[in-house]
């Protein structure tokens, strides 16, 4: 079965480019355009990994992460913070809130593949 990555991101361009990169190496990529939709899809799809943007309309990435980690259905799914803006103590904050990684845009396609592989691989092994 294809491994599934859910991307929660309000920029279509990023969604499409991420989909292209990950689908080219065999992942199934689902997208949500905001936090609420992302949480709903996470419950439904039970993806292997979530890529989560911070700056989004409605509930932002931090709030979305908090809710994902609070709900038993989604709390075990690894989440990688995925942001274009530089946040003070971003690494520390994302780690404290239970994120599996912190990744700054713009990314290199190979870096993205490596990162996704690393986290999904860990989960599979676990």
């Amino acid at each position: 079965m294809d491994r599934t990555v859910l991307i929660i991101e309000d920029e279509k361009l990023i969604i499409v480019s991420t989909q292209m990169v990950l689908e080219a190496v065999g992942y199934r990529v689902e997208a949500a355009m905001n936090g609420e939709e992302g949480i709903r899809k996470a419950r439904e799809l039970k993806p292997d990994l979530i890529l989560l943007d911070i700056m989004m309309p409605g509930i932002d990435g931090w709030e979305t992460l908090t809710r994902l980690k609070r709900e038993s259905e989604t709390s075990e799914i690894p989440v990688i913070i995925f942001t274009a803006r530089e946040h003070a103590r971003g690494h520390q904050k994302s780690s404290d809130m239970g994120a599996a990684g912190y990744f700054r845009k713009p990314f290199e396609p190979d870096e993205l593949i490596e990162l996704v592989e690393k986290h999904i691989g860990q989960k599979t092994r676990a």
Partner: protein, 533 residues
């Protein structure tokens, strides 16, 4: 008094009736006066005789009254009695001891002419002495008059130069007051008792007080903008206790101006003797600068998000196209896709530096710290330059030690800094040259060196190359690209991490840049964490 042949005072009875000697003296024109011994002092003062003729017994009684009373002392001539002349030596000594200048020894009548000449000679001597004294007196008076004249001239000169100094002082004071009244900053001066002695219009407006009311009063006694008055009053009190100078930026809400940012500097002032003379307070409205800083940060934030996001798309699509992931392309199309990707990377790199520089200047630096071995970063940092080095036929080497110490740094910022150094080295190294990246461990720090065989940097420019937008080459004629931000960013990142930037170069002999960072001690972290628990 007309001057005659001389004045002689005969004190007391000398011998017998007027003798031939007396007669001869009178004939010579001498003014001969007789006086009672008891009047000695009075007569000497009154008549100022040239010579006093006195018997030895009277001299014994009156010598104290004869000498030291008048403007000038007379010449005393002791006239001995017959009996005294018998022991002439003893009488002579006694007469001289009592102040006599000459002694007349009886009998006087034997050679009256000779005795008369002796007395006249004595008078003459006295006259010469008087004349000399008068001359000296006149000379000293002339000298004194000259000295007085000189002194007067000096006083006048001093007076003139004092007036000139006073004129300059008033001119300076006038200039200073004009500057103080027209300067854009508020200035308040209080004396050691805390009373206002100077208040310029800007300070008056900011504090909401009138100078005419404020002078001579303490800040806390005034009705004005209470928030600022109380803050400035508190700063002044601290400066009075602690001395020195202190600067604070206040954020205050003002009824008319809304939010104001005021930079308040208080300085304890001492006079030229070092004694405390009061407090100078300078209030500067920096609201516009704060607004500009806010705008800049907002602009950088927009730049960060709005430019990076489309760049991610462009870069990703170009990469997929170039790799044929979206379908096979001809060689030409593939080249175009590669070119789009390279230009996107270049743009990303410049935007990164600009954002990084903005953060350096706003003081929000080293904000996303992680602990990692610096070699982990170097492996990735050199990748974007490998192709450029190959194309430029540059021998590009990364030499890493087997074990590399940890650093605590913002991974992205440090990558930018190291890439700025590598980019510079590749850019300036000619074909056939070498660029080498090495790591050196020191006792409490780690240094990443980037060494090249380029043209080197003249010593004159080695400090300036770290300035923003500075380029050694003329920007209109230069052969190498870039905005002149790389080294400035590298230095800013190094400093923000508690490190430093290094440069060693000689013109024509290449260059070696380095970033020195403090080594991270894991034991310290473990200790700190265990203490925190």
């Amino acid at each position: 008094m007309t001057r005659n042949a001389g004045n002689i005072l005969v004190l007391g009875r000398l011998a017998t009736e007027p003798t031939r000697l007396e007669q001869r003296l009178l004939e010579a024109g001498v003014d001969l006066r007789m006086a009672h011994p008891g009047d000695a002092a009075h007569c000497v003062i009154e008549h100022v005789p040239d010579v006093v003729l006195v018997s030895l017994p009277v001299l014994r009684e009156e010598s104290g009254n004869l000498l030291g009373h008048a403007d000038r002392d007379p010449r005393v001539m002791a006239v001995l009695q017959e009996v005294e002349a018998l022991d002439l030596e003893a009488s002579l000594q006694e007469a001289m001891r009592l102040g006599a200048r000459e002694v007349l020894v009886p009998p006087f009548e034997q050679d009256a002419e000779q005795e008369c000449l002796r007395i006249l000679h004595l008078i003459e001597e006295e006259h010469v002495t008087q004349e000399l004294g008068a001359m000296r007196n006149r000379e000293s008076q002339a000298t004194l008059r000259q000295q007085v004249a000189d002194l007067k001239e000096r006083c006048l000169q001093q007076g003139r130069s004092n007036q000139e100094a006073l004129d300059v002082f008033y001119l300076d004071l006038s200039r200073m007051m004009t500057i103080i009244d027209n300067i854009g900053d508020g200035i308040v001066f209080t004396d050691p008792e805390g009373q206002i002695t100077l208040l310029n219009p800007v300070a008056a407006e900011l504090l909401g007080i009138k100078p005419i009311v404020a002078i001579g009063k303490r800040l806390r006694q005034l009705e004005g903008w209470k928030d600022l008055l109380s803050q400035v009053d508190e700063f002044q009190r601290q400066a009075m206790i602690e001395g020195g100078s202190e600067e604070v930026t206040l954020e205050l809400h003002h009824e008319e101006h809304d939010l104001l940012y005021l930079q308040v500097n208080t300085t304890a002032v001492t006079d030229y003797k070092g004694a405390f003379a009061g407090i100078l307070t300078v209030i500067k409205d920096v609201s516009a600068e704060h607004k500009a800083e806010e705008n800049k940060n907002q602009f950088l934030s927009i730049l960060s998000h709005e430019l990076r996001t489309p760049l991610t798309g462009i870069k990703t699509f170009a990469t997929l196209l170039a790799r044929g992931a979206l379908g096979e392309m001809g060689e030409r199309q593939q080249g175009v896709a590669e070119s789009i990707r390279e230009q996107a990377l270049r743009l990303e790199h410049e935007i990164d530096k600009l954002i990084c520089l903005g953060r350096i200047e706003s003081g929000e630096f080293a904000m996303d710290l992680e602990v990692f071995p610096v070699v982990d970063l170097l492996d990735l940092a050199v990748v974007p330059f490998e192709q450029a080095a190959r194309e430029g036929e540059i021998d590009f080497r990364l030499e890493l030690p087997a074990f590399c110490p940890l650093v605590r740094a913002d991974r992205e910022d440090l990558r930018r800094a190291l890439q700025a150094l590598i980019e510079n080295a590749i850019k300036f190294t000619p074909s056939g040259g070498r660029v080498q990246v090495t790591v050196a461990e020191e006792s409490d720090s780690v240094v990443v060196f980037v060494e090249d065989t380029g043209p080197g940097i003249d010593k004159r420019y080695q400090r300036r190359i770290f300035e923003k937008f500075y380029q050694v080459e003329d920007p209109l004629t230069r052969h190498h690209g870039g905005a002149g931000l790389g080294l400035c960013v590298a230095k800013g990142v190094a400093l923000a991490h508690g490190g430093e930037i290094l440069v060693e170069s000689d013109l024509g002999k290449g260059a070696r840049f380095g970033i020195r960072l403090p080594k991270f001690d894991m034991h310290q972290l473990e200790e700190a964490e265990s203490l925190a628990v």
